[in-house]
Amino acid sequence: MDPVLELRGITKRFPGVLANDHIDLALGQGEILALLGENGAGKSTLMNVLYGLYKQDEGEITVRGKPLHTTGPNDSIAAGIGMVHQHFMLIPVLTVTENVMLGQESLRGGVFLDRRAAANRIREISKAYGLEVDPDAYIKDLPVGVQQRVEIIKLLYRNADILIFDEPTAVLTPQEADELAKVMRSLVAGGKSIIFITHKLREVREVADRVVVLRLGKVVGGANPKTASEAELASMMVGRQVLLTVDKAEAKPGEPVLIVDGLRVLDDREGLVVDGVSFDVRAGEILGLAGVQGNGQTELVEALTGLRSPQAGHVTIVGQDTTRANPRTVTELGVAHVPEDRQRDGLVLSYPVADNMVLNTYYLPPFARGVVTQQAEVDKVAAERVKQFDVRTPGIATSAGSLSGGNQQKVIIARELSRPIKLLIAVQPTRGLDVGSIEYIHSRIVEKRDQGCAVLLVSTELDEIMGLSDRIAVMYHGRINGVVNAADVTKEQLGLLMAGVHPDQALAGPAVAA
């Protein structure tokens, strides 16, 4: 069968970078093709060429045998190519219908918007592909997963039959990601063809029919996701052997470092989101806090780190009551905090890497003498840490905002882990990062544990929780729904706990191998 889309010898250069180097790619009718590669491998550039945002320097594109010449996204859309961007292009204050018809409005009498006709078409599309959504809902009221469905509907509304998904699961919870996989299946069943950009190996194996791996702008090979192992795919992608599972010795837990007792925390809307949580984390162990996003983990961590004042209960860190302590007091007790939103809380993006390295120690010697900053010391230490933690940056004067996500996270890890710490609170430490960076950050966290540091790992990624934790606490609706030893629990059991099933029931059945 002829491919619906063919790229031949696509080359795209940017000043100093060869982003795409003679890439050949063919997409078959009804196929889900995964384009796998690390951040910076050239996936997004290639798709932007295809979508008409960039013009290739060499090579040609054919759609159903006809050459495609793009001067902008409109040409690609006309050729039936649609793209679901990583960051949604939706207007929050408009309804689903209004967003979908934007730019292609159905009119009544030439001037009035025909919302009903559009809504009906949206319902038809929803039904045909299992994209459940209320056409009259406002975008701002919809969860992220549903917003993504609206993006997909937008493309289908414009009769796109080649769909490009750019890292679609980066913003989704595991459940939403599973939903998306189903949607993709039903799309290809309905005759659409899909290119799916990702760096997550598990997803590739779950949904893709075929994998093409990009590295440094070149196609380095293809594979059958059903037969290739994750390790094989990872080493193709990174260009070397990658440890997917963390190699760690038995934990040697010591004294409790963090004791949380009956903690109750309100969110910004005064809703009770942490409801009587108690647990402890001991020196030399990793406690994983699992749970679907939005079950109170964010507010719990804010309360532990002094960013939010709890309503009731107690927090004790290294024997001191820190229930309503401010962030500085908590930091000075030896607590490191890798925040959930690295760009909002963890970094000042406009600052150079060097200043970000001392963001919470700038006032201490040797970085300051009295109130006078010792810039030479800051720069010296920053240069050392950049080297030690393998932060890929042109220099310490480069602004943090111009680094890639993985390197931004490494700056935070470097800052937090190179202090003498007794407790590490890491929230989603590898979200959105590529395999190489994940491997590195995981090994650093385990290394801290082995040095006797207590670690609280908060993550919505089950693989991460299971791979790193010694014990796992599952959070559901603001409460701890069971604490288990990581060695004795299966993925299914954890999934049940995360879904709120009572531990007696969830753990009762025979442990089924994951």
Binding site: P327, S350, Y351, Y362, A368, A397, A400, G401
Partner: protein
């Protein structure tokens, strides 16, 4: 995206610097060019030719209109190089003073611009928008005036610093009100500072026609300050050039040092650049907002004190003349950097003091200067226009300082 596909962009600091210097410079050039259209098409000679009433050479008339206008402006602002050279050659101090009069007057005008511009810049750096600089200038001027005339018998070495510091205190106290309202009640500083400007105007009216009115006068004017409180003038009369210019430069250096070389400045800038990260890092966001606002007010107060103690030696309702609003433009023009503010202030000082001469020689109203100032700001605010006209590529780092985080928070 390419930002993703390259590990990190190579640092090209010279490009950032080039952007910082070149764009404002070209903006000025463009403003002068557009300003020359205004000159040409408001020139009666040119209009006569265009309407057929005169048959003189059009191009010549246009050129002479522009040359007279900008020439007289330059001479009024900087001086006549020939005259300066002759004066120095003669060695006559009165002649030197006269030849240096234009440039000295420009520098005297620059000083309050520097101080007021720094005031806005400091608030920008902390993510706030202090529109109340005008009012804080009034309060600084009132405090300085009071100390200037009410305290007598002090030696100048005590009286001058006392009066100057009183000005700073007045501005700081006035700025503390919106700062505390923001910290305690969440009131947006843009609203409160604007409102406090009006309170400051009326407070001044009342003081100058009541408790602080000059004895025997029916006009709203304060008593003259004591001679011991006057900022010493450095050139013979009628030049008003006084040490305030050097105080302003020293203060600019001090602000730079505070912002970029101390932990206090690091906190202020961090709160301005990313308040969430500041809180995460253990900084007290509220305290820093209040501190930055008071510092901003103190700088504005210094500008007010400079006008009273150095220029006018008395307080009137016209003490500021919109200085506090020009200051916003200066901070934007100077990219909230003290060195930039000094450069922008010098530009404004030159334009303002050249305007007077231009009005008398070329008969072009000083309003043209307001137009040029506005154009400079517009072109700097829209660097894309300047880049487009002069075909300059974008350079430097994209993640640059955000000036106004205060909006919408």
């Amino acid at each position: 995206m390419t930002a993703q596909s390259t590990p990190a962009k190579a640092p090209r600091p010279w490009l950032a610097l080039r952007d910082d210097l070149l764009i404002p410079l070209l903006a000025i050039v463009m403003a002068l060019i557009v300003g020359s259209f205004v000159i040409v098409f408001t020139n009666f000679g040119v209009l006569d030719i265009l309407s057929g009433a005169s048959s003189a050479n059009l191009a010549g008339a246009m050129w002479s209109a522009i040359a007279t206008a900008y020439g007289s402006m330059f001479e009024g602002a900087i001086g006549n190089f020939g005259a300066i050279a002759t004066a120095f050659a003669s060695g006559d101090s009165a002649a030197i003073g006269q030849a240096l009069y234009p440039i000295s007057e420009s520098l005297a005008t620059t000083a309050p611009y520097v101080l007021a511009g720094l005031a806005v810049a400091v608030s920008f750096r902390c993510g706030m928008f202090n529109i109340g600089v005008e009012g804080q200038i009034f309060l600084g001027a009132i405090f300085a005036t009071y100390v200037g005339y009410a305290f007598t018998g002090l030696p100048a070495i005590v009286h001058i610093p006392l009066a100057v510091l009183a000005g700073a205190l007045g501005g700081a106290l006035w700025a503390a009100i919106p700062a505390l309202l923001k910290a305690r009640a969440g009131a947006h500083e843009v609203i409160t500072t604007i409102m406090l400007n009006y309170v400051a105007y009326r407070l001044t009216d009342w003081l100058l026609s009541g408790p602080m009115q000059r004895p025997g006068s029916t006009n709203p004017i304060s008593p003259l300050i004591a001679q011991t409180a006057e900022l010493p003038r450095l050139l013979p009369e009628p030049a008003r050039f006084h040490i305030g210019f050097f105080i302003a430069l020293a203060v600019a250096f001090g602000v730079w040092w505070l912002l970029f070389r101390t932990t206090i400045g690091f906190e202020i800038r961090t709160v301005g650049a990313n308040p969430d990260a500041a809180q995460y890092s253990g900084m007290n966001v509220t305290r820093n907002l209040v501190l930055a606002m008071c510092l901003s007010g103190a700088l504005a107060g210094l500008a007010g004190a400079n006008q009273v103690l150095g220029m006018n030696r008395t307080m009137t309702g016209g003490i500021s003349g919109g200085l506090g609003f020009d200051a916003i433009a200066l901070a934007l023009l100077g990219k909230s950097h003290p060195a930039g503010v000094v450069a922008a202030s010098f530009l404004f000082g030159v334009l303002r003091s050249g305007a007077t001469k231009m009005q008398s020689v070329a008969e072009i109203p000083t309003d043209l200067i307001s137009i040029i100032q506005a154009l400079v700001i517009a072109f700097i605010a829209a660097p894309a226009i300047v880049r487009g006209v002069f075909r300059i590529k974008r350079g430097g780092d994209d993640a640059r300082t955000v000036f106004m985080r205060g909006w919408g928070r």
